[in-house]
Amino acid sequence: MSVKELFPGGVFGRLSALDEPLPHSIKRWWWCWGSLPGFFFAIQVTIGVLLAFYYESSPDRAFESVRFITEEARYGWFVRSLHMWSANLMVLFAFLHAARVLVTGGYRGKGRWATWMAGMAMLLCTLLLAFTGYTLIYEQLSYWDISGTTKVVERGTAPA
């Protein structure tokens, strides 16, 4: 079965690059967890560009600009919520996908270790992106987030 057969007509039907037969395994719904972080990443980039029109990345203006986006810009609360939920779901599905690959032994086989390591690198990048996004708001939670993390990096242990 191909993507075209799964989603006939519309956009999917016209993309010949997607017109490849799918292996039997991918017909299980939990096999799609791998592409979901990519989907959420695309949403993050798109919404991130929109938010960058209002966001100011200086310590004294960051919180005020986030407040402006949330309370005064039209649909700002909605756009910001989408950004937040998309970021959370991106991390969630990256972990679920890694767990799925681990449980089903998808890392075994010729050359699969490289795929696994690339996936781990992407998971690490995702976590770093989530961390930096958290700090941008410049509120109390961001402050303690940065304080805690820098202490962990400095000491190599969790803060007491």
């Binding site: 989603f7 007509g9 519309g10 004294d60 810009a73």
Partner: protein, 145 residues
């Protein structure tokens, strides 16, 4: 075009239109709107030398205080309680000198009686709300959302 193709195209088209509308609306500059005056309390209920805590319609805590025993709006202050450093709550300390009347316990930030920063990490003044007096009644002005 089959019925199935039409439904799929209409769904994708509708979603794209909605997303485009939200994106365009988000970026389109808003006209500044007039502030709304909201009745808050009687002027005489606002203490001199202390504060009365109220909530804005959006739930923000605001301190009301008078610098003199008068109905003159010049001497009635409505000051937000959120520290401009990292968003903690500031407290009114009547026992402290006027220069350090508002205290933020999180990082030892201080503000004077008018909400201007006088010590510690905060660099911006506490938010001030416009005050209007109609007879005995005190109104605060809020931005429309």
């Amino acid at each position: 075009m089959t019925r199935r193709e039409m439904v799929a195209s209409a769904s994708v088209g509708g979603a794209v239109l909605m997303a485009g509308g939200v994106g365009a609306g988000f970026l389109w500059p808003r006209r500044s709107r007039e502030k709304i005056a909201v009745y808050t309390c009687l002027v005489d209920e606002v203490p001199v030398g202390d504060v009365k805590e109220i909530r804005s319609p959006r739930g923000e805590r605001i301190y009301l205080l008078r610098t003199e025993e008068t109905h003159d709006p010049e001497h009635i202050l409505a000051i937000g309680t959120t520290c401009t450093h990292l968003g903690c709550r500031v407290f009114y300390r009547p026992e402290r000198p006027e220069e350090t009347r508002f205290h933020c316990p999180c990082h030892q930030g201080f503000f004077d009686q008018l909400g201007n920063p006088t010590g510690g990490p905060p660099e911006r003044a506490l938010p001030r709300y416009e005050v209007e007096v109609r007879g005995q009644l005190l109104f605060l002005k809020y931005n429309q959302v």
